[in-house]
């Protein structure tokens, strides 16, 4: 089962350049045409399921506008070490 992840877009920074959109291996990103950032750009968003938290979008983002998270599998940890 692929890892599950998600991203956060800093809409102040995002300029809608779509580099992340092209780079995302899961093809789950696109510009959100319904929104405008304070600078007047359409910001990127994730429009579908499937993000793996691979962070490739963040690696190609010129604006460092993305934060990427990956789900930590719940696992049992001894109550005390």
């Amino acid at each position: 089962m692929p890892a599950k992840g998600w991203i956060e877009v800093n809409e102040l920074q995002c300029k809608g350049c779509e580099l992340c959109v092209q780079a995302c291996p899961q093809e789950v990103m696109s510009l959100d045409k319904a929104r405008l950032t304070p600078k007047g750009y359409h910001p990127v968003h994730v429009h579908a399921e499937g993000c793996t938290g691979c962070a490739i979008c963040a690696i190609v983002c010129p604006e460092a506008a993305l934060t990427v998270y990956r789900q930590v599998e719940p696992r049992a940890v001894p109550a005390a070490t």
Partner: protein, 259 residues
């Protein structure tokens, strides 16, 4: 803690060495990527508070607003001289310049050559986008043959202007240079390699091994008249063939470095 709720682990976040300032770069311009990489390396090496950056004149002129690091702003082309002045009086600080191709390879040719020849213990991040971005797209020494720019409206005529200058190859010829490599920013794989090279360059400086320079092939969608994505393709298809990626100078001492 023995919680079983799925938790978020941060895989990537904006490096601490960047300020929150929104850049003035055009959308999709890879200047932003290289700066981010430098910031990540400064974070990882814990250098943010002992680094001094030297911004140059070009689209990256405001780099000093984006790095959360002590900065100065050099005259056009003279960043290596200014960095020399700083490094000589503060040899234990990490001093780096961030320069465009017009800045470094045209007006700043003498200063970068001599900084390298002296083996000046500084790091240079050299952004080759084959154009003068800031002034609106004139020919740079790195502009490809036939490329249209605002000062070569019919395409660069190599009969009149010569062939593009390959700075890494030239700088590697100087005994004083220790680490000179060319990388590209056109996709995630290459960006990772670029970061590794930047990391090595700063390590070289940390170890006092001398002059290090990382040339990064970068885009200028605005003045190339391409979309950001098309511009990445231009780097890959047009630029790399003339500016091959590779390690042009890795001195023995640097080879011995483990990064």
């Amino acid at each position: 803690m023995t919680s079983s709720t799925p938790a978020g682990q941060v895989v990537y976040q904006r490096p601490r060495s960047l300020t929150a300032t929104v850049t003035h770069y055009c959308p999709g311009c890879t200047h932003g990527i290289s700066q981010r990489l430098v910031a990540e390396v400064l974070d990882e090496m814990g250098l943010r508070e002992k680094a001094i950056g030297v911004a140059s004149v070009g689209c990256s002129v405001f780099a000093y607003n984006y790095f959360d690091v002590d900065f100065v702003e050099a005259a056009h082309g003279r960043a290596p001289a200014m960095a020399t002045g700083i490094k000589r009086v503060f040899p234990d600080r990490t001093v780096f310049t961030y320069q465009g191709d017009g800045d470094l390879a045209s007006i700043g040719m003498a200063e970068v050559m001599h900084a390298a020849a002296r083996g000046e213990n500084i790091t240079i991040i050299f952004i080759n986008n084959a154009i003068y971005g800031m002034t609106g797209g004139q020919m740079a020494p790195t502009t490809l043959p036939g490329m249209r720019t605002t000062s070569t409206p019919l395409g660069r005529d190599i009969e009149m202007t010569g062939m593009p200058i390959r700075m890494s190859e030239v700088l590697a010829k100087l005994d004083g240079s220790s680490f000179v490599v060319r990388r590209s920013l056109h996709d995630a794989t290459n960006i990772r390699k670029a970061k590794k090279a930047i990391r090595t360059a700063f390590e070289v400086q940390q170890q006092g091994l001398g002059f290090s320079l990382v040339e990064l092939l970068s885009t200028c969608p605005t003045n190339w008249g391409l979309t950001p994505n098309e511009a990445l393709g231009f780097v890959e298809k047009q630029m790399i063939p003339y500016f091959p990626l590779g390690d042009y100078k890795v001195s023995d001492a640097v080879k011995a470095l483990k990064v």
